[in-house]
């Protein structure tokens, strides 16, 4: 088994095909989208491949150490141009192909006009523990 992170972006991902902001959809289209996302997570729980999913607020800041006795430096809220993560799902699957297949399904969630969003999701393998048998 291998763990993969599916990253969804507020900003910074390549443009989607069905690129309409959600507040411009109809309420019914929003409901259909939410239902699709819920069904997807439920199905992955059912297949034993779901690990975790979380959403992030669009607001945040950069923070760094600024030396002994000084408070940390912060920079934010994020500038409009920055790459901005919206949330993630962690899956535990048998193969890279399966991870790609699932990411593709998630990207097909319906949006405006009930058509798939074709949203770009970032798929990142976890660095795993070293295996026990090495030769």
């Amino acid at each position: 088994m291998a763990k993969y992170l599916l990253l969804k972006h507020y900003r910074g991902a390549p443009a989607t095909v069905n690129d309409v902001p959600m507040d411009q959809w109809t309420p019914a289209e929003i409901s259909a989208h939410m239902q699709y996302m819920r069904d997807f997570a439920t199905r992955l729980e059912g297949t034993g491949e779901f690990v975790d999913g979380q959403a992030l607020a669009p607001e945040g800041a950069w923070v760094r150490y600024d030396g002994e006795g000084r408070p940390p430096v912060t920079d934010g809220p994020f500038a409009e141009t920055k790459d901005l993560i919206a949330g993630w799902m962690v899956i535990d699957v048998d193969s890279h192909d399966r991870a790609v297949e699932l990411a593709g399904e998630l990207s097909a969630a319906p949006g405006a006009g009930g058509k798939p969003i074709h949203e770009w999701l970032e798929l990142r393998p976890f660095l795993s523990e070293p295996p026990t048998i090495t030769e």
Binding site: P21, M22, D23, Q24, W25, T26, P27, E29, I30, S31, M34, Q35, R38, A55, A57, P58, E59
Partner: protein, 381 residues
């Protein structure tokens, strides 16, 4: 095996042991041992006096542990001097435990965890699930909290306000996970109300009951939020409302108003309205004025602006809103709502979308996005 009975007896048994001078952590271990023993023995041989049984067994377990420990800890003398187990006043012991678990030396998250563990008798795993943290993290949080309060003695009366704040936090955490924190908070507040006669304890219990009564109506089958005005009031729990109102009225009659009674009064006015349109908004505004006077909390003035909008019209609501700090959470959502009521749909839609971006949780974000979408859809027709 009556788990509810066991859990309801736990705090007073623990309180008795601590009052006898046992270190808090050791007392807790002893009570846990006694509970395990009860689960094993009671089904076949139920005791006539469950609390006395638990106290005796816990006390013996403590003695065993203390004796085993004696060489290192030199506890023997203390043990021999302790009085034999016997009946002890219930209310006081339970009450002291509440004070201990909500002690001001604890952070809010520690006080919440310790209260649920020690007074509520939930397992560490259940508490970890409810707060969505790993079990090891919650175990550590609880054991640190125990260490913090271990040195404290039971001789000074605590401040009931600190206990109420902890119970309020538990209730407000909502319904995530397998443990119903809201129901647990009600149970603990009810138990507290039985141990101490205080109008604000009654006020908080009433507040919880009145909010809990709306629970079934608060979310749609698809999980989305249903605002108060659109809730199916036939799904409100009328028994819970009746109980809340009765408790509140008795508390208010004592004429020692506090913030929880005032909040409960607002909840009671909503509960009392057969339809949203029949809500007594004028009285609700008065209660918000009372709350603002009692607490000085700026969030109260934000909620008051909504009530003013209903009582005196959206223009008056917007005027009231203008005096509120626009950096407050949900300020934009309130502004959007009042703009919509005032007929300015384009501004309202823009504000709803902005409020959705600022929303503190997914349910609210989805709700606000839907509101924006609803108005934008209207605008296209």
């Amino acid at each position: 095996m009556d788990e509810t009975l066991l859990r309801s007896l736990t705090p007073s048994v623990l309180g008795i042991l601590v009052r006898r001078g046992i270190d808090f952590a050791a007392a807790e271990d002893a009570v846990q041992d006694a509970l395990v023993e009860a689960v094993r023995v009671w089904p076949a041989d139920p005791p006539r006096d469950p609390k006395g049984w638990l106290t005796t067994v816990a006390w013996r377990r403590f003695l065993d542990a203390a004796r085993a420990d004696a060489a290192r800890r030199r506890r023997e003398d203390l043990v021999e001097d302790e009085p034999a187990p016997g009946p002890a006043p219930t209310g006081d012991d339970t009450l002291q435990l509440y004070f201990l678990c909500a002690h001001p030396s604890l952070t809010p998250s520690s006080a919440v965890a310790l209260t649920l563990r020690v007074v509520g008798g939930l397992t560490t795993r259940q508490i970890a699930h409810a707060y969505l943290v790993p079990e090891a993290t919650m175990a550590q949080r609880i054991s640190r909290a125990k260490r913090t309060v271990s040195g404290l003695r039971f001789d000074r009366p605590g401040d009931v306000a600190t206990v109420l704040r902890v119970l309020y936090l538990v209730f407000n955490e909502g319904y995530s996970g397998a443990v119903d924190l809201a129901a647990e908070a009600i149970r603990l507040t009810r138990q507290l109300a039985a141990a101490i006669d205080h109008p604000e304890v009654a006020g908080l219990l009433a507040l919880m009951l009145l909010h809990h009564a709306r629970r079934a109506a608060r979310t749609a089958p698809d999980g989305s939020l249903v605002p108060l005005a659109e809730q199916d009031r036939s799904r409100w729990d009328t028994r819970s409302i009746a109980e809340g109102v009765e408790i509140l009225q008795a508390a208010l009659a004592r004429d020692q108003l506090g913030e929880f009674q005032a909040q409960a009064a607002i909840a009671a006015l909503h509960a009392d309205a057969p339809t949203a349109a029949e809500t007594d908004w004028v009285q609700i505004v008065e209660w918000y004025d009372e709350l603002a006077r009692l607490t000085g909390n700026p969030v109260v003035r934000l909620n008051r602006a909504v009530a003013v909008g209903e009582a005196d019209g959206p223009r008056a609501g917007l005027t009231a809103l203008a005096a509120v700090d626009d950096a407050l959470p949900r300020y934009t959502a309130v502004a959007a709502y009042l703009r919509e009521r005032d007929g300015d749909l384009a501004t309202a839609a823009r504000l709803y979308a902005e409020a959705a971006r600022q929303a503190p949780n997914l349910a609210e974000r989805d709700h606000l996005t839907r509101q924006a979408a609803r108005l934008n859809t209207l605008g296209r027709h």
